[in-house]
Symmetry: C2
Subunit: 148 residues, 2 copies
């Protein structure tokens, strides 16, 4: 299959607000007032967490049938730690980026636990955003919650 190239554009607007475009969509990002922004949208780090969660959701839906698992609900809770000493102050030895990403998957399914664990592992392995983040940031799967 041919390689697909995605494109986007980010334009700095008033203060710290940024207009982001891809295809026909526009999404604002900004910072909260505590970070000198005007709080008109998520900040890029929150959105990065959302990308990781959304990508896993989509991969789960795309492959559930092929992996022979019924998925009624799928939800990912995420958190990421940022050390302002790196980002704002540039202190030696402190990274500017996320120190760690943690996430918990919530899934509603009748499948047994082993099957669920295998499926979540598969989802992670095929998730483009997860793969793109591998390297610098430890990504910790805190747990899987199975709702029946």
């Amino acid at each position: 299959m041919a390689i697909v190239t995605f494109r986007s554009e980010s334009i700095l607007r008033e203060g710290l607000s940024v207009e982001n475009r891809a295809g026909k969509f526009t999404v604002l990002m900004d910072e909260p007032e505590t970070l000198r922004g005007t709080d008109t949208g998520m900040n890029p780090v929150e959105m990065l967490l959302c990308c990781l969660g959304a990508c896993q959701c989509i991969v789960a839906r795309l492959f559930a049938r092929a992996r022979k698992i019924q998925v009624q609900d799928f939800r990912v809770e995420l958190e990421g730690d940022l050390d302002p000493d790196g980002f704002l102050r540039g202190r030696d030895g402190v990274r500017a980026g996320l120190q760690e990403i943690r996430y918990t998957v919530h899934i509603r399914t009748d499948a047994d636990e082993e099957k669920v664990r295998e499926f979540i592992e598969f989802v992670k392995s095929r998730c483009p955003v997860n793969d793109s983040l591998l390297g610098h940031v430890p990504i910790v799967q805190k747990g899987i919650v199975i709702d029946k």
Copy 2:
């Protein structure tokens, strides 16, 4: 300074659409119809590119004064390549994530070229999303366009 923890949640909705929440904000992500989605929002890979662009815009604004450069406009164009053989087919040796990210910075400023290059390099080094992506994905700065 204390470490800041950001939180988000991604919930699979109809088809491939995903509702993403962080703080008071909600953003939909989806896939185009060619990828079996319903095209109600950017996909997670497009949004990931936006995160990188927006983060650089915000860092540029935050530090322009301290770096003694006037920034009238700042805009980032980005592209990223995905190989469906990795993501959809899981072919051995083909990564599921982005093969490469490329970006071009457009800046309107009266500063000279050397000052601009130094500033863009500084922005990259302090950008939390850029730092978080380091490792697996080659991130190529294609160029800097200076508008006077």
